[in-house]
Subunit: 97 residues, 4 copies
C-alpha cells in the first residue's frame, strides 16, 4: 500500500472492516484483550516485527492482558494508508476472528 | 501439575492429545510451521514467558517460519509432567487448533 | 523479596538507587529511551518474562524507541517491595548503567 | 549494504571485527551466552525485528541462556554482505562489548 493520506470515504470504508476500531482524537483506536499476559506480549512482538518492516510504529500501552493502540501518521498529521495497513495486520495477528 | 517422571502409559495417553508430537531420541519432538517469521517469533515469546514461569525451558530452533522443539527434563534424564505441560501450552498458543 | 507495603523511608532509600525513577501519582515512574525500536521491544520482552515470573505486571506504553513505565501494586493500592524488585530489574536490563 | 557474495578477503577482514564468530560448515557461526533466559529471548526479539527488516533470517537455536547462530545466504549458497550485516547487528545488540 502506498503511503498517502486517507480520504474521509476511504477511512469510513476501512473502519467497516476493522471490528472494534474507532476514531478517537483523530487517531485509529482499539483496546485488544487477550487470554493472558503472555499472549498480549507475544502479539506485540509479532506486530512489532511487521511495524518496523513498514517503518510505521504504533502508540500502544499494555497492562496485563490488555493492549490499547492508537495509530496516526505523525509527519502527515493525520491518518494514512499505513495506519490501515498496520490496523489490519494487528487484527489478523490477534485471535479475534 | 506436580513435577515427576511420566510412566510409559501416561506418555502414550498424553501423546494422543498432542497432534504432531512424537518421541524422538527420548525427547518430545515437534516442528511447528507458522504463516510468517513474525508469527513464529511472537509464538516463541509467548511460550518463553510461560516456560520461564514454570522454570522449564525448551530446546528449540528457528529458521524463518518454522520452529523445531525438543522437550526433556534434563535433571531427571527423561520426560516428566513438565514436558507435557509445556507441550500442551505450545500447542494451545499455536494457531493450529 | 517478600511482597509487602513499603514504608516511606524504604521508598526513599530505594529511589536513591534507581536513577531516573520518580514518584508520580503515587506510582513509580520512568521514561526509558533506547537506541532503536528493536531495542525497546527486546527490552520489553526480557522484562515481561521476569514480570510474569514474579506475577507483577507493569503499566507501560511504547512509542518508537521510548517506553514509559508506571508501577504500583494494585491490590494493595500502594507501592510494595515487588515494585522495587521490578524497577531494579528494568534498570539492570536496560543498557543505562 | 548491497546484497552480494563476499570475496574470501572480505570475509576474513569481516571476521576480524566479529569476536567469537567462526566459519563452520560454510556458515558464519557463533554461540552467544547471556546472563539469563529472559535476556536471551529479549536479544532474539531485537535481532528478529532487524532480521525481518532486511529480509534475512538466521538459523538459530536456544537452550536456556544460550543461543547458537548459523548464518548463510541460502539462495546464493554462500555468505553474503547480508550475513555480515546481521552478524554485526547481533554483536552490537548483545552485551558483550
Amino acid at each position: 500500500m502506498a503511503r498517502r493520506k486517507l480520504t474521509k470515504a476511504e477511512l469510513e470504508r476501512s473502519l467497516e472492516g476493522l471490528p472494534g476500531w474507532e476514531l478517537m482524537d483523530n487517531k485509529l483506536h482499539k483496546m485488544f484483550k487477550f487470554d493472558s499476559f503472555a499472549e498480549a506480549i507475544g502479539w506485540m512482538t509479532s506486530v512489532a516485527i511487521f511495524a518496523d518492516k513498514i517503518d510505521h510504529h504504533p502508540e500502544w500501552s499494555n497492562v496485563y492482558n490488555r493492549v490499547t493502540v492508537d495509530l496516526i501518521t505523525h509527519d502527515l498529521g493525520t491518518l494514512s494508508t499505513l495506519d490501515i495497513d498496520l490496523a489490519q495486520r494487528m487484527q489478523a495477528l490477534s485471535r479475534e476472528d
